[in-house]
Symmetry: C2
Subunit: 135 residues, 2 copies
Amino acid sequence: MLGDSHSLPLLREILYGYRRFSELATLTGAPRSLLTSRLRKLESAGVIARRRYSERPPRDEYVLTDAGYDLVPVLLALKVWGERHTGEHHQPTAVFRHRCGAELHPVVVCEACGDEVRPGEFEVSGGTHPPILRP
Amino acid sequence: MLGDSHSLPLLREILYGYRRFSELATLTGAPRSLLTSRLRKLESAGVIARRRYSERPPRDEYVLTDAGYDLVPVLLALKVWGERHTGEHHQPTAVFRHRCGAELHPVVVCEACGDEVRPGEFEVSGGTHPPILRP
DNA sequence: CGCAGTCAGTCCGGAAGTTGGACCTACAAC
DNA sequence: GTTGTAGGTCCAACTTCCGGACTGACTGCG
């Protein structure tokens, strides 16, 4: 779902609160035809919803569903990675503010012990790997 | 970097510990030619490294770099999402065990207050959005 | 030695996905 | 009635992807 070109940037912009077709077109740089098909695909995947906000003229907007909001940890983790590992500090990045009042710096922790999950501090086992089937 | 087809599954398998070309080929299902170019791309992005483990015959293996391990939170967050939101419980998924002994259930928390970051409990501001430039 | 098998690829032609520009419908403003 | 905006669709070029065949450098077996 996220492995398609433009899907990740598209979701990011929607998370940032942009919800209009033409905003998303210019922000992502995706051709409008592709944007249409990505929006439809994400909609049928259940992560965004299309809402008609004007009947006449007919106007639609796109917002995250609850399942879409659940992708926030993924996007935040990716944001953290990007800021740490790419020299391209893409302009003033968005600032996330948590309800606690502080600027939101997301950290991935182990639920059991509460410690941050760092490289090498965990083991992967099992990992039976389904062959990937594409329809 | 992750928006290319097969990149995410590929990184997952490498995280699971598979490091040989032909393993990765069958696990991801990607054609070998594509796999080659993805591995090269990820290598030049600095998330994986190619190591020669045999001179004769020449054999290479692929492992995560430190920057690659820093992607673990992203992959873990995605794993959590997938398990919660897709009916396809893809066979026995891999089990991650944290050094604390418990099975690793990753949670994204706010660094300041330590609370889990949930939908609607934060605000995005700023979000100046560079137009995406593709070379 | 000769033959089979494995590993890490490359090569190639057809299929699929992407791109940007033109075009369309439905309005609103002047 | 002309211009502008929003949300698209259509299409022909272009790029990527696919899967199967092929290669080179070995190892193992009898």
